[in-house]
């Protein structure tokens, strides 16, 4: 018995000392929130990633070697994200797309950094994400780049806008950061921010805030929140009589909002890092496939997850052309993959993207969309020039 134990321990230690070879199919990890209240976003990312897996495998995968996505649920908290990352790293994935939220990234990305596993954040827009480490990059444009476009577009639509009300979810780090950008942009555009109202993402009744906004007699309302609270806020603003323009932040940039504010969603302006109308060939394939399966346009979160998988696939193809992937040691391939990601340029559903040496995204195309409701539950984001 003692001998058996000794043998098992020895073998176990031995297995850690032997370099792990790259398995086929090539495994790419996807660690997003499939449960908890963050699942609303994570589910969209799962769909985007799966569509990418199907598309690139139909193309032959990595020069003939198929890819396989390994999904791990991060749940809604940092501990879940850390756990998911650890499991994927132990399973031997070559890289990870994830996590869903920036606050999860700050907790889980250092795990990947220490293990030298490349990570692509699909929807982490907070300041400081690429700076977590050399192996951390993102395909989601930082909020400071995206948000100002919506204010400029609102002024195009109505040059007489003078007075602005700003509302934001104070318990959500992303919304707090986004509202700062919105308020700076408003001031830079010589607009008068007459009232700033806070709420919580868990709030449902916004009568107090709406009453204050109506009393301030504003021409423009800017909301930074998530789909459920933001949509409810829009609905209550409209139902209680506000008729001016409304700008929604990135958290409202999902078709999930349609079912919340229904016809009252009509006319909301939203700055986007993705548009289904982007004319690139790969985006049109993605949109067609998504529409065929889900009968609506793909949301930004699905497109960014798709992009994350695509970047990994294209970087792996480059490496494979120089030296077949199944001949690499896993650790060496992960390091090489990280380098390849950062030097490449990619034609994705988001348009042409690349990365700087820190892993920050360089994206050329941004959009402002206006929601147009077809009926009480179905609508679309109409791309504005």
């Amino acid at each position: 018995m003692k001998r058996a134990t000794l043998l098992a321990v020895t073998l176990g230690l031995f297995s850690f000392t032997v370099a792990q070879k790259v398995a086929t199919p090539i495994e790419i990890g996807v660690a997003v929130a499939q449960t908890s209240n963050v699942a609303l976003l994570g589910q969209e990312q799962v769909i985007g990633a799966r569509l990418a897996e199907k598309f690139f495998n139909n193309q032959g995968g990595i020069n003939g070697t198929p890819i396989k996505l390994v999904f791990q649920d991060t749940g809604g908290d940092e501990a879940g994200a850390i756990n998911a990352f650890q499991n994927l790293i132990r399973d031997g994935v070559v890289g990870i797309v994830g996590p869903t939220l920036s606050q999860h990234a700050f907790a889980a990305d250092p795990i990947a950094e220490r293990a030298k596993v490349p990570v692509l954040g699909p929807s982490n827009t907070a300041k400081g994400i690429p700076q977590i480490g050399d192996f951390i990059a993102r395909v989601s444009a930082p909020v400071a780049v995206v948000a100002p476009n919506a204010v400029k577009q609102a002024l195009k639509l109505d040059p007489d806008i003078k007075r602005v009300a700003v509302l934001y979810a104070q318990n959500d780090a992303f919304s707090v950061s986004e509202t700062g950008t919105f308020q700076e942009t408003a001031k830079a555009q010589k607009l008068d921010v007459v009232t700033v109202q806070k709420f919580q993402t868990t709030d449902t009744d916004f009568t107090t805030q709406v009453t204050a906004v109506l009393g301030a007699k504003v021409d423009l309302v800017i909301i930074s929140g998530l789909a459920a609270d933001g949509g409810n806020l829009v609905k209550q603003l409209r139902q209680l009589g506000y008729k001016g323009l409304i700008i929604g932040g990135n958290g409202l940039n999902t078709s999930n909002i349609f079912s919340v504010c229904g016809r009252d969603c009509d006319g909301i302006l939203i700055a986007q890092a993705y548009s289904p109308q982007q004319s690139g060939a790969i985006n049109q394939v993605f949109v067609k496939e998504y529409r065929a399966q889900y009968k609506k346009d793909p949301p930004q979160f699905a497109a960014q997850a798709y992009t994350g998988v695509q970047v990994f696939v294209e970087a792996l193809r480059k490496i494979d052309r120089k030296k077949k992937l199944n001949t690499w040691d896993l650790d060496d391939l992960r390091a090489e993959l990280n380098k390849a990601i950062l030097v490449g340029s990619y034609r994705t559903p988001l348009g042409v993207i690349s990365f700087d040496k820190e892993g920050e995204l360089n994206q050329k195309e941004f959009y402002v969309a206006q929601i147009k409701m077809k009926d009480a539950r179905n609508g679309s984001f109409v791309f504005l020039k």
Partner: protein, 322 residues
């Protein structure tokens, strides 16, 4: 604060407070009979809304086992049965769920004379199972009732106080009226009917009630049915105003319901009503610049009141012989 502003806040507070009241009544009924808190009540609240949505609309999103399912294809505006009947059936089904929870999560523990703390943990387990079951079936999407469920009523009611317009959403008025009717009905059932008397007897002393020929187990089941019915009804009423924001949307209300029954007095039915209205009004009267903290304000009021009256507003002080 001028009178118009006061009136506006009062109406807002009464509307949301009345929902808190009927939701908290579900907690209170079970506590008064068994002396335990049913932590699955928040999940029943959410499930009640989903059940009514299924019966009234029946069109699901793109995630979960029921993805892209449309139960009533070709029927304009959802199902043929109409919203009022769907609300009633959804609430009745939530009541039946309450009965199942009693049968499988509470009764076995009670039969073994287990510590009430185990029942609390058991109900917490049920809550987590239900929430995850919802997500498994219909995903985490937001589901909303179409604005036409209340017919062609205008979205808001307006009237002037002096030269200040008071605006209240029609759905808030409906919620208040329905809640009020339910509270009055329940008051009548508990105060004036045979079932109510038996329930009060079981709550007072189950052993004595049993000696008097009252089937304690049967009335515990009735209590769980009523509790589930009220929870499901409250969930649907709230979701007609704010939408169903996902499987977890009962969690916040669950916590608030606990605050309401503690404030009103554990086990006190009038206390649950008063507690619900007090919390709703306290939230409504938080000034706009602090509105993000309204829940904290509500709980701070709870804390202060408990310092002064540990038994809650209408609870009875426990007298111990020494």
């Amino acid at each position: 604060m001028d009178f118009a502003q006061f009136l506006q806040n009062l109406l807002n507070g009464l509307s949301i407070g009345s929902v808190y009241a009927i939701f908290a009544l579900g907690y209170t009924l079970i506590f008064s009979i068994l002396g335990i808190i049913n932590f699955a009540h928040g999940a029943i609240f959410a499930l009640g809304a989903y059940l009514t949505f299924t019966l009234a609309v029946g069109e699901f999103g793109i995630n979960g086992i029921l993805k892209n399912v449309d139960l009533f294809p070709g029927v304009e505006g959802g199902s043929p049965i109409g919203f009022p009947l769907a609300l009633l059936l959804g609430s009745l089904l939530a009541g039946l769920l309450g009965v199942l929870i009693e049968r499988f999560a509470f009764r076995p523990l009670r039969a073994r004379g287990a510590d009430p703390l185990l029942a609390l943990v058991s109900s917490l387990g049920v809550a987590l199972v239900l929430v995850n079951l919802i997500q498994l079936l219909v995903g985490a999407e937001i589901y909303s009732f179409p604005s036409t469920i209340y017919g062609s009523l205008p979205p808001a009611v307006r009237f002037d106080v002096g030269d200040t317009p008071i605006v209240i959403r029609t759905v808030q008025v409906i919620i208040f009226v329905v809640s009020l009717v339910i509270l009055l009905l329940l008051g009548y059932v508990i105060g004036r009917t045979k079932i109510g008397k038996a329930l009060r007897a079981v709550a007072e002393n189950p052993a004595t009630a049993s000696l008097l020929g009252i089937s304690v187990d049967r009335y515990i089941l009735i209590t769980f049915f009523l509790s589930g019915f009220l929870g499901g009804l409250a969930g649907t009423l709230v979701s007609t105003s704010f939408g169903i924001s996902g499987p977890y949307f009962g969690v916040t209300y669950g916590l608030k319901g606990l605050a309401v029954i503690v404030l009103g007095g554990l086990g006190s039915i009038p206390g649950a009503v008063v507690g619900g209205l007090v919390i709703g009004l306290a939230e409504a009267f938080v000034p706009a610049q602090f509105s993000a903290y309204k829940e904290a304000v509500a709980f701070a009021i709870l804390f202060v009141i408990l310092l002064v009256r540990p038994q809650g507003l209408l609870g009875r002080a426990v007298i111990q012989k020494v």
